[in-house]
């Protein structure tokens, strides 16, 4: 009897590719995961993310070293796809921790029956541990796929009951795809779901260092790409885009003070949608309507006040909740005086940082702002280097309504001037982010170097009607 042949690296990468969904960001570690990017077909719209900050790339058509400025996690030159963009190191980590890399593909040296993994660098250089971003990847909320040889060159098992190498991530691997099988890490242990062509369950069990449960639908691996349509992010109207915004939701809305950067068209849609009990996170709770900020005489700016007047707001979290002029009170201040709304005043920089933390999967942080003031009352404080800091918790929202200048259909956004303010901070901090823009363009029309918000953070795009004014 002859041993059935094992899969080659390309076949393993093809099998991994079946797990990926169009429109999602997929972080690829170094080693075998790098081959997964080579499986992409035009239009599959999978945004591969490399440790170096490329988001949306494919294998390079050029000869290695010939002008590629983007590299994959293994240092190989790659090309950005139309709609790809570049991230800094901190933005890469934020994307991963914030849960926006829906799938993470890693090549561990060992995986345990509980899904613990030891990264290959640990095995390659014992005592000289360089985790790179593996820890961030493995511990992010994304689904973790391990791609690896089932055994080592000496025949010993890479899939074991307990890792013998230092563990880099505990209980984080979800699926193991090897050169002989597909295993799922289940509550009850490792489940053998698929075997390579020619292999029997017993062959796989024999070379695995942990007990395997056979799936009831155990099947042979296939390598055909799964065809799925990329999601359409462009909505026909503001109301269509916010149709499922629920009663009682926490919402973020941009707006520094005046109309610049404010999603007035979506605000009107939200008023017409009519749901109430909303918690509003925003820099102001609507002051443009009373102060004007350049609104033509006799006209009223469309701001948060229209939601307050329609009794939709329950609470505002803001740095500048009321009018600068007490003699010209805003709708929100009048509602506050009537006891209809609550307010939480947050220093502007703390507000921005709380949103950034929420976006980046950071639970809380210490800031010197507000130490010793009433806005720190009841909050934990701590002294670092003789200076007092206040513990502030992250903010996230169910829906986020923001305003950009241009977006491509993948949701990559550029802003204009000071209208960026809270928009690009809030974009990654909500379950559903809806952006109102002046122009929608095709992928590739925005310069990747100028993209401020990558499309992975934008769920829905609405074109602001050209004749829509920010005032009424």
């Amino acid at each position: 009897m002859t041993t059935p042949s094992r899969l080659d690296n390309q076949q393993m990468a093809q099998r991994v590719f079946q797990e990926l969904r169009p429109g999602s960001a997929v972080a690829l570690g170094s080693g075998l995961p790098g081959l997964v990017a080579g499986q992409a077909r035009p239009g599959s719209q999978i945004l591969f993310l490399s440790e170096g900050g490329g988001l949306g790339y494919q294998a390079s058509a050029a000869t290695a070293g010939q002008g590629q400025t983007v590299v994959d996690s293994g240092g190989q030159g790659v090309d950005l796809i139309p709609g790809g963009s570049m991230l800094s190191t901190i933005d890469v980590a934020a994307l991963v921790r914030g849960g926006y890399a829906g799938v993470v593909v890693l090549q561990p040296a060992q995986v345990s029956a509980q899904g613990d993994f030891s990264h290959w660098t640990t095995a390659a250089t014992p005592g000289l541990f360089s985790p790179g971003w593996a820890w961030d990847l493995a511990n992010g909320p994304g689904r973790v796929i391990a791609i690896m040889g089932h055994t080592r060159a000496d025949g010993s098992a890479n899939i074991v009951s307990q890792c013998t190498l230092p563990v880099d991530g505990a209980g984080c691997v979800d699926i193991i795809i090897t050169d002989v099988a597909v295993l799922r890490v289940g509550e009850e242990g490792l489940v053998l779901e698929e075997v390579a062509p020619g292999w029997q369950a017993g062959d796989v069990t024999a070379i695995t260092g942990a007990p395997l449960i056979l799936a009831s639908n155990l099947r042979e691996m296939s390598f055909e790409p799964v065809v799925a349509e990329p999601p359409n992010k462009v909505y026909s109207s503001g109301l269509a885009a916010i149709h499922d915004l629920p009663q009682g939701a926490t919402i973020m809305i941009d707006g520094f003070a005046g109309l610049g950067g404010m999603p007035n068209y979506l605000m009107v849609a939200l008023r017409d949608h009519g749901v109430g009990g909303l918690t509003l996170i925003s820099n102001t709770a609507g002051v443009a309507r009373v102060i004007g900020f350049g609104t033509p005489p006799g006209r009223l700016a469309i701001d948060h006040s229209i939601l307050v007047d329609n009794h939709q707001i329950k609470k505002a979290v803001a740095s500048f909740p009321v009018s600068p002029s007490p003699s010209r009170p805003s709708s929100f201040e009048l509602a506050l005086q009537r006891g209809e709304v609550e307010v939480e005043v947050v220093p502007q920089g703390t507000l921005a940082e709380r949103i950034r933390a929420g976006a980046a999967g950071v639970a809380a942080f210490y800031t010197p702002t507000a130490a010793g003031t009433q806005l720190a009352d009841g909050k934990e404080t701590r002294v670092f280097d003789g200076k007092e800091y206040v513990l502030e918790e992250a903010l996230r929202a169910d829906f986020c309504l923001i305003r950009g200048y241009k977006a491509d259909t993948l949701g990559n956004v550029v802003y204009k001037g000071t209208s960026r303010n809270f928009n690009s901070v809030m974009a990654p901090a909500a379950r559903i982010t809806i952006i109102e823009v002046d122009q929608v363009v095709e992928p590739g029309e925005l310069d990747p170097e100028e993209i401020v918000t990558p499309g992975v953070y934008i769920d829905r795009i609405v074109l602001r009607p050209p004749d829509f004014l920010g005032y009424e």
Binding site: G260, F293, T373
Partner: protein
């Protein structure tokens, strides 16, 4: 108790002019609303100052001319500004990282009260029940130097420089210099030092309108403009 003193005081422009002399050449400066906004008009010739604004711009330009307003170009007060060469835009998280991270050299703030220890209260009057903190607390905690520009007393002629603030605080022990319509007062480890007085005013007269004890500088002089 203070008694009436109806000698002329300096006007807001003179306060701004005096503050402007404190701005370092090549420095990054954030100006608050009110008298601080006027400071940019009086920067001495030959000195370059880069303005940081919480609206998300570094090297913020002067106010825009009528008819030239651009909705995407505002300062922290919501006023339209001119585009100038070398402007840089950023989001609110980055704008405040700049402040908290100590990259803003000087902020000039207005105040309701400043205490002997350099505490500042400028964001809330309790009788209103709610206040706009905006970026004031971040600036107080983060800027390298906090200069207060304000009137020496309130409308009822009560001192705004006090032993201990009784209004809600914006920041603790952060004010380095106070410039008012009567005096220039520096906070040192020994307390508040009166360095300059308005023309026609004596150190004793200024002390009478001040709620905290002032040490008179041995080199006390008239306002230096």
């Amino acid at each position: 108790m203070t008694h009436e003193n109806d000698k002329p005081r300096l006007d807001r422009e003179i306060i701004a002019m005096r503050v402007a002399q404190e701005l370092p050449d090549g420095g990054y400066v954030n100006l608050g609303i009110g008298i601080p906004t006027l400071v940019s008009s009086f920067v001495p010739e030959g000195r370059t100052v880069f303005y940081h604004s919480e609206s998300g711009v570094l090297n913020c330009g002067p106010l825009a001319d009528e008819g030239e307003e651009d909705i995407d170009l505002i300062n922290a007060g919501g006023q339209f500004v001119k585009p100038v060469p070398g402007m840089a835009f950023f989001n609110s998280a980055d704008g405040f990282a700049m402040i908290r991270g100590g990259h803003v050299d000087v902020t000039v703030l207005g105040a309701h009260q400043v205490s002997a220890k350099g505490d500042i209260a400028n964001w809330m009057l309790p009788q209103r029940g709610v206040g706009n903190v905006g970026g004031a607390m971040d600036l107080a905690a983060g800027a390298k130097d906090v200069i207060v520009a304000m009137e020496h007393t309130d409308r009822e002629n009560h001192p705004k420089i006090v032993q201990v603030c009784d209004l809600p605080l914006t920041g603790k022990e952060c004010v380095s210099l106070i410039v008012t319509d009567l005096a220039v007062i520096r906070r040192t480890t020994e307390g508040l030092v009166l360095e300059e007085v308005a023309p026609g005013w004596t150190a004793e007269e200024v002390q009478e309108l001040t709620g905290a004890r002032l040490t008179v500088s041995p080199s006390l002089r008239e306002f230096q403009l």
